[in-house]
């Protein structure tokens, strides 16, 4: 069996207890046709996903350093050689080197944070394009479509469930909370 490539690793669901436990339901107004509402929807998604990823990052124990460079390259490819994003990824990489060892999992987390940061930058462009010139809604929509694809991809990877209000909702989509303390009031 061929060795698992980084892209395989990066796109599959990461089995990690912290990721599983974050399992967050994001309910948003989706399916809007009005460009201004679409902008608002994308903004809400970015806020949610960004905060969830930062939460995972801040609550994670440090792990062994591995695959970080590939993750950063992946991040750079995904951001399509955007100078801002490369700069951001580079800064992250330096921070990681200074930091204690981490695994590819943490590297992936960092790369996703970079990706979300890029989404935010693109969202700003879409927002500005639309509000500075109302005729440019098509350009704005096109940017937002890419942004939303990236957002959904990242959200799926980190067990974040996006539920548009117009879509059916099944309770199985809501993550189960299965990490109890397993203690009684008498135990420490």
């Amino acid at each position: 069996m061929a060795a698992e490539s980084f892209v395989d690793k990066a796109t599959k669901i990461v089995p990690d207890t912290i990721k599983q436990s974050i399992g967050k339901l994001i309910v948003v107004n989706a399916g809007e046709t009005d460009p201004a509402r679409k902008i608002h929807y994308a903004s809400a998604l970015i806020t949610h996903i960004r905060s969830a990823l930062f939460y995972v990052a801040n609550n994670n124990e440090l792990r062994e350093f591995d695959d970080v460079l590939r993750a950063m390259i992946y991040s750079i490819i995904k951001s399509e050689y955007d100078p801002e994003s490369i700069k951001y990824a580079y800064n992250r990489m330096i921070k990681l080197y200074e930091d204690k060892p981490r695994t590819w999992y943490d590297a992936l987390l960092m790369s996703d944070i970079a990706l979300i940061q890029q989404c935010r930058t693109n969202w700003k462009v879409a927002n500005r394009t639309y509000f500075e010139n109302n005729d440019a809604w098509m350009t704005s929509n096109e940017i937002l479509a890419d942004v939303q694809d990236a957002l959904v991809e990242v959200a799926t990877r980190w067990n974040l469930v996006i539920i548009p209000k117009e879509m059916p909702f099944n309770i199985s989509a809501m993550p189960n909370l299965m990490i109890p303390q397993n203690q009684t009031p008498l135990e420490d």
Binding site: V27, R50, Y55, I171, M174, M178, Q181
Partner: protein, 363 residues
């Protein structure tokens, strides 16, 4: 209902109820700007999936320690914690779904099982059996279940052995006697003199239905737990609890006889209000809202309607019309936040569910 949905469409036009469902399953602390405990009532005809919905929702109950759920829904990061569940054990019940082998058969190996403990009174001798499916025309004997059982002496003992974040199934004592606290409350409410014939004396032993046991547990959570903590300084107070009452009309009956009525009414007037502040939530189900005592019904703040439910629009408790409920298929419910939004939510049948268990020895 069309008038709420900007046009026609009936059930199809109703938005999803992900947000209200999340809010009724996730609890927060009043001290952190949250709401505190919630009270949810499920209505549905027999066989419309009330117990299925209960068992699936049990895995979703959680609480937030640091922030309110409103902030959480707006993107403030935090981690939900699994909430302590206290369920009422019944003679025919389905808690055997949460035994590891049954659970894995139904939900797969990926989802870890929440720990479960069954509480039986020390004087009772209850054993649990699960019927097995017959194979090739041969009748198979029932399987004896061996869950983690704890035999409690009293409510304090029970409290100390509750698994935090786990599922705790409590069987009330077969022979329960009215506690001194409840006697005092009934005496006060009946306004009888100590010398009166109907005055309930402290040394008097009065057998009561197990409903009284549940009220005593609520009183314990509200007031006694602080006193017990003084006796046992190492004891922790359970932060957030959900009581799951299948067939809740047996706990909050609408047509209770007079002595029991005092207990139910007192509970409705006093204790149920306090549950919100101490982060005790109630998740109850019944066949019809009319079977629940009306003052208690008015304190519920989430209503779930399954197929066969009755609209509460005339009671001004809900704005969901009967015509909308009548369109519900099995596997879909409407959830409404009191004076708030409502939506529809789907749920699946549980795969390979175990047979109902029998509690032998329970009276």
């Amino acid at each position: 209902m069309a008038k709420y949905q900007n046009g026609g469409g009936g059930l199809r036009a109703v938005r999803n109820g992900a947000e209200p469902y999340f809010r009724c399953c996730m609890h927060d602390f009043e001290t952190k700007g949250g709401h505190g405990g919630t009270r949810t009532i499920i209505q549905g005809d027999l066989g419309t999936g009330k117990t299925t919905l209960n068992n699936q929702s049990i895995m979703k109950f959680g609480y937030l320690k640091r922030i309110s759920k409103r902030d959480y829904m707006n993107g403030v990061p935090d981690q939900p914690h699994a909430e302590t569940i206290i369920g009422r054990g019944r003679k025919k019940d389905y808690w055997n779904l949460f035994l590891p082998d049954n659970f894995r058969r139904s939900f797969g190996k990926e989802i870890p099982v929440r720990p479960m403990r069954v509480f039986i009174h020390v004087n009772d001798d209850i054993t649990f059996y699960e019927q097995q499916e017959d194979t090739d025309g041969e009748e198979r004997p029932p399987r004896v279940l061996k869950p983690d059982i704890y035999k409690y002496r009293d409510i304090t003992d029970l409290y100390m052995h509750i698994i935090e974040g786990g599922i705790n199934v409590v069987y009330p004592p077969n022979d329960y006697e009215l506690s001194d606290l409840l006697k005092k409350r009934i005496n006060d409410l009946m306004m009888k003199s100590k010398e009166g014939r109907k005055y309930l004396q402290d040394n008097q032993k009065i057998s009561v239905p197990s409903v009284a046991f549940w009220y005593d547990i609520f009183y314990f959570f509200i007031s006694d737990v602080e006193e017990v903590k003084e006796q046992y300084p190492g004891m922790k107070i359970i932060k957030s609890v959900v009581f799951v009452f299948d067939e809740a009309h047996q706990i909050f009956p609408s047509g209770a006889s007079k002595p029991l009525w005092y207990l139910v009414d007192n509970f409705a007037e006093d204790e149920i209000i306090e549950t919100r502040r101490i982060n005790v939530s109630i998740w109850a189900d019944c066949h019809d809202y009319r079977f629940i005592y009306w003052k208690i019904l008015g304190r519920f703040n989430y209503f779930i309607f399954l197929k066969g439910a009755r609209s509460m629009i005339k009671q001004r408790l809900s704005k969901i019309e009967q015509s909308l409920i009548d369109q519900l298929p099995i596997g879909t419910f409407l959830i409404e936040e009191k004076s708030g939004e409502f939506g529809k939510v789907d749920f699946d049948r549980i795969k390979n569910p175990p047979q109902a268990l029998t509690a032998k020895g329970m009276k």
